[in-house]
Amino acid sequence: MKKMFAVFKREYLQAVRKKMFIIMTFLMPVLMIALFVLPSLIAARGLGTKHVVVLDGTGQLKDAFAGPEKKDAPDTSLGKRGDLPQQMQTDYVDAGGKNVEQAAKPYLDQLGEKNGYDGVFVVPADALTSESAKLKYYSRSATDFMTRERLSSRTNRAVQQHRFAARGINAADVQKLMKDLDVDAVQLSKGGEQKKAGMANFLVGFIFIALLFIPSFIYGLEIMRGIIQEKTDRVVEVLVSSMSAKQLLVGKILGVAAVGLTQIGVWLTMIGLIATAGLSAFALAGENVLQILRPSVFIYFVIFFILGYLTYVCVYAIGGAVCNSEKEAQQLIMPITMTMMVPWFLMFPIITNPDSSLAVGFSLAPVYGPLTMFARTLVAEPPLWHIAVSILVSIGTVFAFFWVTAKIFRVGILSYGKRPTLPELWRWLKVA
């Protein structure tokens, strides 16, 4: 115990005193905030105006494009108009009775030039009558789908109105008939209370999930590097002649875990402070962030943080034990990290469908459980037995991984030769 504590203490103090720790602790929250605040700042300020020319082969859609975009224009494809980060300005060219493609030619030639148009939108002459008519949008970038969507939806609205009008229905009636209804998203908890769901909850969820897994990777790498360092500095021989490999490993992992918890503690405090300050802002926006930051979230956060952290750290410790140099480790880091990050890549479908079989499967699986289960508890209320099973599976995983790590560690830390192959690793497991 005393020896383990000595290792723990050394590991902790050395890490906490490092510049990287201090920078990480204070810079991370700033970065995170920037990551989430910048897009909305950009949204508010806008990215400038898109200038588009519309060539109307039908000659009858002038009303839809003349003047600025109407705020109340119903838009079926996107949410609120206010979400769009860009202004769009359209110039209308009546090409009724002419060959539209011909008429578009001079505009296409100047496409993308200074003071020219950013896009050319062509409405064919048969747009009102043919069901198979195609609208065409020319631009320099293939990814400008926002503008394309907006133009298409606007045109389609106008085309529909004209078609209705052609069958004798009054234009004002059509407007009314086709008015979209807004959706208010409400999350109903088991207790029956109603919560208003919204964008802010989504963002806060992502911040929490990022906080849950980022330290695991950073300190996982740290422990890997530490073990390799001990091997290259040849300290390890003195260590294992003084204590068992297991004591050494436990001391190290707990030391690194304490470092991670310290960091998380600082971050949570900072978030708490910022959140209290920002709460009123969210409240004004009509969203109660407190409903996602309920106390149980913090409890789950700590539980799943520790479980996820220990799992990842064990995996990286094995990596450290089998590598002889940082260079070798570099090759291992990629595949390990990629495998570990699978739930992060799937986070969007998981958060949006927290009770889907994908989400449930991942949340009950070893290794991926902690991150996925935490995400589920954050955005929904999964059945308690799911949470219990996930925690048990994760504890089992940590113990199993720890056992494997200890064995490989015992043989691996003293092998200075080339990196072992998988069959060799298997032999180590049986021998040690």
Partner: protein
Amino acid sequence: MGDILAVRDIVKVFGDVRAVDGISFTVRQGTITGLLGRNGAGKTTTIRMITGIFMPDSGDIRWLGSDSGISFRDRIGYLPEERGLYKQMRIVELLLFLAEIKGRRPADVRKKIDYWLERFELTEKRGAKVEELSKGNQQKVQLIGTLLHDPDLIILDEPQSGLDPVNMVLVRNLLRDLRDEGKTILLSTHMMGEAERMADEIILIHRGQVVLEGTLDEVRGASGKKALHIDFDGDGSFLGQLPQVQHAAVDSNVAEITLADGADSQQVLEACLGRVRIRRFELATPSLEQIFIEKVGDETLSHEGSR
């Protein structure tokens, strides 16, 4: 004094290599015991089994010293051949850590640290980080780390490699002092000359087996034969070809010769006259190196030792 450690028939196999193939010996308390052999003979593997880094595949290692409730592991001070320290740590911090993993409380060793730093002339550097020290000084720090927890058995693997002559003498005197205080020292080395100078007892290992064991005098006496030591000026390469010579280790101006059975040393002297200038011609007990060569055949050690 009695034995402090008994090693019985230990075996360690790595893949196809029998690194240690049934080694047995005992270490007497209060001695400097030299564990000798060429590089790769199995010395380090044997030591790693004694220090508990490896478990032997078979055989056992028993602690026979006094039982004072401190575990076997914590009574050993071990200086590995591959030196290693945490480079980023400060000296005192590191030494405290090394004592702690040997079960000592930091408060109990602070005084000792001062004493050892003083003795090794490192007091001025006590605030420095390990990486700021010269290689020789790093070695001294590691040696302090080996001794700090007051071990009964001190195991040193090639303790003098990489030391300059001044520090070599420092270490040599230190080891003698420690022995005189009643500590036991197990000294692994491939430098026969060094072992001859220091060791009370010798264990000679070759290819994972003990080939010779005993006090220095016993080992020398057991050979029975006398060796011919010649110091000369000139080209001594002919010495190996003389019919009276069974084996000759010839350096630039010294040679140690094992005579063939029944050969007369005077004939060798005659052969030398006129070819080289003789400065010393002595029939004496053979060196450890010579004994070793006799024991294991033609595989010489000589130039390993003088590296």
